[in-house]
């Protein structure tokens, strides 16, 4: 039987014995998930503060003495790196992946619980090394989150001595942590599903996390390779990426290396990384939409195939980040084509989400609001992505605020909207209590409208030609004075949105202790995690017997059935039909 995995054996060798075993050195996937989430959110709040400081300089130049040009570049760099890798990747896969995979596929734990624990502690080490780089001589690296050589390791860039080393080491540690976690997620999905849980009966959340994990396993090595080779260049004087170059008037010891090679490696990781973040978000938003619209997801098979297709295509589009690097025009043509092709499965998904809502019994709960908000922000960011995918459009817009607006809409705001939807949706399962509804609605409208106030004007700034990453504009003729007013308004919006996130944190902390009790299945959802004996689920998840799965994850509003949902583990003969109708069970089955 496939579902008899290591974690499911009779011997209870990894049952916790003490407080420390239960909450600190825990091998329970749920505890590890919460550890991952708290660490990721904490480090994400640091990155949020950094972005606020960046915005202060941009909105009100030279008003704040502690933001000098070096500090500004360091804020930009760390904000990007933390948000993309240490917050989004860790929270979506380490947090939600860990929590949901075993519960949704119906197993007791990950197949390698010890490795799972090790994965978290290695991730924590990566975060500590990263945070330590704020306190070393010279501060963190200010090379931009892409860490392009040669400037990343040359004198003159902030943190070129120690900051960059800490960054590279931290990334390498993170990749080790991710690989340990990722092997666990993939193997659990493939080997430890409950009886009856065929691949096509899995909720889309699991599909998204599963494919994203495979992408991560195959893409992160590229980052590891570039990190190792850059460390060699920095520490041992090799010339993998470093060309012969004059630095501060003196020749460096390197010669002949190719910085473009680094860019290829970096983006071979960097582009799949976009989908490592996006695919779990796609999956989770599908489940939230179906549950709160009381309707089966439209085109389930198309949704699965689209996830797989996007995953495959994401490995052949990387050079669209490098149109300005002077590549062969045929090369650019190829990558523009693949980039536009990837819009097809993505558009299928967007249509299917909208058609899922069509004539659904929509409950405008807070998770649903965030999920619908996601459809707006994602479509918006996706469309600007189509523009930038074309070489001729990208060349003038490259490295302007248009690009900043594009990727913040598509892989900043959108996954964050889904993360909030997911937190509001699954919080009752994790804690047994609801998050406060009024605060939640306030949080949603503030965040949704606020992010538009931030990023919509940025598109316009980009068209004006305002370059990104600049500390100050200086005397630039083609940028009108009014751009500064726009920048100031963006900064005010950003700070308001940042403060609203504090409301969310307060809401979480308050609700853990005082929130309204939710019961087992407050949203009347069909997926297995809502069918556990206890809420929050105890160690081992399922009591004595593992669940048996009889149906797919989207039996909402089935005709002639009494309830508007049938959980996945309800056998055909147990389904209660409507009284007034002919209650013929055979007909249903």
């Amino acid at each position: 039987m496939t579902h008899t995995a290591i974690a499911d054996q009779e011997d209870d060798s990894h049952h916790p014995k003490s407080f420390i075993g239960k909450y600190i050195w825990s091998q329970d996937h749920k505890v590890i998930a919460i550890q991952y989430s708290i660490t990721a959110i904490a480090v994400g709040l640091v990155a949020l503060v950094l972005s606020g400081m960046m915005r202060l300089q941009l909105g009100f130049p030279d008003q704040f003495s502690f933001i000098d040009p070096s500090a500004y570049l360091q804020f930009v760099t760390m904000h990007g790196m933390i948000m993309v890798i240490y917050l989004l990747t860790a929270l979506l896969l380490g947090g939600f992946g860990n929590y949901l995979i075993p519960l949704m596929v119906g197993t007791r734990d990950m197949v390698f619980p010890y490795l799972n624990m090790l994965s978290y502690w290695t991730y924590l080490l990566a975060v500590i090394v990263l945070m330590a780089s704020f306190f070393v001589a010279g501060g963190t690296t200010g090379a931009g989150w892409t860490l392009y050589p040669p400037q990343a390791i040359l004198e003159g860039t902030p943190g070129a001595d120690l900051g960059i080393l800490f960054m590279l080491i931290s990334l390498a540690i993170f990749i080790v942590a991710f690989t340990m976690g990722g092997l666990n997620y993939v193997t659990t999905v493939l080997q430890a599903r409950a009886k009856g849980m065929t691949l096509m009966r899995m909720p889309l959340t699991i599909w998204g996390i599963f494919i994203a994990t495979i992408l991560g396993l195959l893409a992160f090595p590229a980052l590891l390779v570039s990190a190792i080779m850059m460390m060699f260049d920095k520490l041992l004087g090799t010339s993998f990426f470093m060309p012969a170059i004059l630095s501060l008037g003196e020749g460096v010891d390197h010669s002949g290396g190719s910085p473009i090679l680094f860019q290829h490696l970096f983006w071979f990781f960097g582009h799949p990384e976009v989908y490592i973040v996006a695919l779990p978000a796609f999956g989770m938003v599908s489940d939230v939409l179906a549950t709160h619209a009381r309707k089966n997801i439209f085109g389930y098979r198309m949704m699965v195939w689209a996830i797989v297709a996007i995953g495959g295509l994401s490995f052949v589009v990387w050079a669209h980040h490098m149109y300005v690097s002077g590549m062969n025009p045929y090369f650019g043509f190829f990558f523009a084509t693949t980039t536009l092709i990837i819009a097809v499965p993505t558009a299928i998904k967007v249509y299917n989400w909208i058609l899922t809502l069509w004539r659904g019994n929509i409950h405008l709960t807070v998770p649903m609001l965030f999920a619908i908000g996601f459809i707006f922000t994602f479509t918006h960011g996706g469309l600007t992505g189509l523009m930038l995918g074309n070489v001729v459009v990208d060349l003038p817009l490259s490295d302007t605020y248009f690009v900043v607006a594009h990727f913040h809409m598509v892989m900043g705001v959108s996954p964050v909207m889904v993360l909030f939807a997911a937190i509001y949706h699954w919080f009752p399962k994790v804690t047994g209590r609801f998050l406060n509804n009024s605060l939640g609605k306030f949080h949603f409208w503030g965040t949704f409208l606020g992010t538009y106030a931030i990023y919509l004007p940025m598109h316009y700034l980009g068209f004006l030609g305002v370059p990104r990453r600049y500390y100050a504009m200086g005397n630039t003729d083609f940028i009108p004075e009014s751009a500064q007013a726009l920048n100031a308004s963006i900064t005010v919006s950003a700070i308001i949105v940042g403060v609203i996130q504090v409301v969310f944190v307060i809401n979480v902390i308050w609700s853990v202790f005082k929130g309204k009790k939710s019961g087992h299945n407050p949203w009347n959802a069909t997926t297995l995690e809502w069918q556990t004996e206890h809420t929050p689920p105890r160690h081992g998840n399922w009591g004595d017997k593992l669940p048996v799965v009889y149906r797919w994850a989207y039996d909402y509003s089935v005709p002639k059935v009494k309830d508007d949902f049938i959980p996945q583990n309800v056998a055909p003969e147990q389904v209660i039909m409507m009284d007034s109708q002919d209650t013929n069970n055979e007909e249903k089955t």
Partner: protein, 232 residues
């Protein structure tokens, strides 16, 4: 069921054509009760991760090999790897390590404990010989003026052999752990499974090494041909 059939099944109709009996049957028949299945799956995924790692290193190597300052370590007769005798010796050690482990699996299955012990010790010794041999090649290279930062070809030699060696070192730790668990629990069946996985890993590392050996000791002409073929 093959993967395409699985991915085209219509889950909302599952109750009709995939009656639960057939369903559970296919589940149980597709893989026997086998606690090492997850470990095997995870190992294969891990090997693909490592393959991507070495593939990317190889691509960077080939791309960098076309720069003007790249001086290959083989080709002209005076270059160190035109006659790579020491590397052949190391290769022999690694082949013997793989064979010993394969024999160890055989003995573990037949429960011949003393033979098992000998083959395991031999496998460890041969692997260690390989690592020490690689290290002495490094020393020879440095002594002869082919230091790490002298030339990209040298850098790549140290880098690739180093990464490969680290993987083998990790394998030795895993092997020791397997023996240690057997020492404590003396469960022959799980020992056989774990040794099988170790053997797969060793064979894999041997193949990677043969590939690296061929790559790192090829002549500049070979690099140019491959690079032309790949379009660098």
């Amino acid at each position: 069921m093959n993967i395409f059939q699985k991915l085209t099944e219509k889950p909302w109709l599952a109750n009709d054509d995939l009656a639960l009996e057939g369903n559970s049957e296919s589940l149980s028949s597709s893989s026997q009760v086998n606690t090492s299945m997850p470990a095997k799956t995870a190992l294969y995924f891990f090997l693909s991760v490592v393959s991507v790692l070495f593939l990317l290193f190889t691509i960077t190597f080939l791309s960098r090999s076309q720069a003007v300052d790249f001086q290959a370590l083989a080709g002209e007769p005076w270059l160190p790897f035109s006659q790579p005798n020491s590397l052949w010796f190391n290769t022999g050690a690694l082949v013997l390590a793989s064979i010993s482990l394969q024999l160890a699996v055989l003995f573990a299955r037949q429960q011949k404990t003393s033979n098992l012990l000998i083959t395991l010790v031999l496998a460890t010794i041969f692997s260690a010989t390989f690592l020490i041999g690689q290290f002495s090649v490094w020393q020879q290279l440095t002594l002869n003026g082919y230091a790490l930062n002298q030339n990209p070809a040298n850098s790549f030699f140290y880098l690739l052999t180093g990464i490969h060696g680290l993987h083998l070192l990790g394998g030795i730790f895993a092997l020791v752990r397997v023996v240690w668990i057997y020492w404590k629990k003396s469960d022959t069946q799980s020992l056989t499974y774990s040794l099988k996985l170790c053997t797969t890993y060793w064979h894999y590392l041997l193949i990677v090494w043969l590939f690296l050996f061929a790559l790192l000791t090829a002549t500049p002409e070979t690099y140019r041909t491959i690079a032309l073929f790949c379009g660098f």
